[in-house]
Amino acid sequence: MSTVSTNSAALDSPGADSRTCGTTGLKVCLAAQRFIKLNAVAALVFLLLGGIAAILLALTRWQAVHLLPVDWFYRIITFHGLNMLIFWILFFEVAVLYFAATIPLKSRLFSRPVAWVSFGMMLVGAVMTNVVILQGKADVMMTSYLPLLAHPLFYLGIILVAVGTLIAVFNFFATLFIAKRDKTYEGSLPLVTYGAMAAAVIAVITLLHGAIVMVPTFTYSLGWTPEPDPMWYRMIWWGLGHMSQQVNVAAMVAIWYLIGYLAVGAKPVNETVCRGAFILYILFINLAAAHHLLVDPGVSPAWKMWNTSYAMYLAVLASMIHAFTVPASVEIAMREKGHSRGIFGWITALPWRNPGFSAAALSLVIFGFVGGITGVTLGTQQINIIAHNTMRIPGHFHATVVGGTTLAFMGLTYYVIPLIFQRDFIWRGMARVQPWLFGGGILLVSFGMSFAGSLGVSRRVHDIEYAGAYGPAAHLFLGLMGIGAIIAVFSLVAFVLMCVGTVLFGRKIEGRAMADWGVAESTVEAKPGSLAHAHWAMKGTMALTSVFLLCFAVYYFANWKALADVWPVQ
């Protein structure tokens, strides 16, 4: 396949470099396949590095173990933040973009050289940043707030990763363009591609913020330009740091829909609603940087309130909509398959032993019930006073970006490896429990962190004993976090080994279908399509979302009460 854009994008045109998937019957562009593989493998390597760092950190913050010396603690926390939040997530997302633009649209990838340039830049940047960190020349945390200053190559590495990712996003949009132009598909984009497109749009805005903040910091670190203002830095950095989380959310939600389809055959109850919710993400996330600056000087309360609520709560609305439409689509599919006993009968019949499905389902529950509720509450302007920079913050985002996004990405990997690498998974028994271990471990981590934070324990601190402010309860919760971390990291390492082992030694799939993980079965009472117009049939989803809303309200108002108990302050 050449990159000359006069070639048709259609995979069934003569000379197209493609194969037919033995499982789904879909055509797979071989160029896209190569770059999905490369980016996924790189992502797994960074996940492993970040996981090793994670256990070192948790066993240091667990004061009874207190593993790392002080300088290495700050070094490793910088390393963990970047390898996990930036490298693991971005490489995986690029793989998702290449998938979403080609296979569902029956299109080829726009350009192989562009994909190489992107991958090369990202890899060089990530390796450069890691080397600088491990050499001890960038003990600045991933946020690198000025006037803290790291070695110039630290910033250059991050800039390379960001620009490399932008180039991949360009390749994605160019592929959408040629697919449309050459009519490889009829009508509207499939929902998965649509969700990926929402993620890509937000990624562009995000990465531009990254360039705006990182380039002057890089030139300052070289002594070429004056120091940027530290408050300006915080504001623009969080334009990068927070919005990129919306990229993750959009990608994760797209994966929920995809796995709902693959494992249960679910289809959206109402396409308009699902698509509209993705649009809300794009429109209303750009100001969410505000909720990292709620107790900062120099920004007015009106600015903080407007930007944290108006913009954020419509993005919250979007997530609450997906939190209904995803389980509703699954429930309707299950009821049509004949699992219609009571309100929750369909839940027991779900394919819980399918690791792709269980990972996606746990991801939805952890993201919604823990990550979402805590996030909105902590991001409330005044409540932030009793939460800012405490362990409540990592407690929150380990439920969103780890229990939510990372677990969803793991779930997808259980399909990506058989379908794209064409190997059947080894250790299938381990695979079936892995999402449960990871989800359970991360829940303990998140609870331990959150409760320790409520007792005043600060994040990013090597040793809490100097303060003389914390009793046995705080230590207990840090211990709980430590135990959760052991479980989660065990499961993470098992996951990476399983993936690598499968890629190297798994049974080859050529032309045949992948070994199935298990899908929801139909009973004799199955009536496909019978509920297409039953707008109140998702009784279980209604019950679950009501419980969710109740938990949300209780947690939210309990925090206002806790705030009312501290000293008056203006």
């Binding site: 995809l258 109850v269 308009t272 920004v299 909509i321 005044q382 600060s458 206002w560 008056p568 203006q570």
Partner: protein
């Protein structure tokens, strides 16, 4: 279906339970956004972010003046300073201490100016767990009314280098 092109004419207004949920969620989002302005006017704990530009030297000078005028003692070499109720107090954050120790009276209100002379620091008062950001170049004024007595450690909760965890200050309330 999410992997395939949707059926033609997929545009449909939400119906039934889905419509109800969207309505309920929207109301809830609205309630949450109204809580903040409500608390701004009626609540007692707000982060108003009152701020003035200040250089590190000027802020240090004001603090030294404040210490000289109001000094009442010394603990481990750090001056203990008691501002008059209702007046301005100064607190410097720097690698790696909080200067000076403030002595306040229960039920009185103080305007506490905080700034850093080097990096970002975080003001975190324990065990109330009240947290504010302290930046160089910014004089961040927190108007605070202690309502409990005792000795309260201030810990730094923004990473500021190797001595970050030892950056502990103190507020005494009588």
């Amino acid at each position: 279906m999410s992997l395939h092109v949707p059926e033609k004419n997929w545009f449909r207004a939400p119906e039934g339970a889905e419509k109800l949920w969207i309505g309920v969620a929207l109301v809830w989002c609205f309630v949450m956004s109204l809580m903040m302005p409500y608390w701004h006017f009626r609540g007692k704990q707000n982060a108003k972010g009152e701020t003035y530009a200040v250089s590190a030297e000027a802020f240090m000078e004001r603090t030294q003046q404040f210490v000289a005028d109001n000094r009442v003692g010394e603990i481990d070499g750090v001056p203990v300073v008691e501002p008059a109720p209702g007046s301005d107090a100064y607190l410097v954050a720097r690698m790696w201490d909080w200067y000076p120790i403030l002595k306040l009276r229960e039920g009185e209100t103080y305007r506490i100016h905080m700034s850093s002379t080097d990096l970002n620091h975080g003001f975190s008062l324990q065990p109330m767990n009240m947290n504010f950001q302290v930046l160089p170049g910014y004089d961040h004024v927190i108007t605070m009314t202690p309502t409990t007595t005792g000795e309260f450690p201030i810990i730094c909760n923004e990473f500021c280098g190797i001595g970050h965890d030892r950056m502990i200050g103190k507020i005494i309330v009588e």
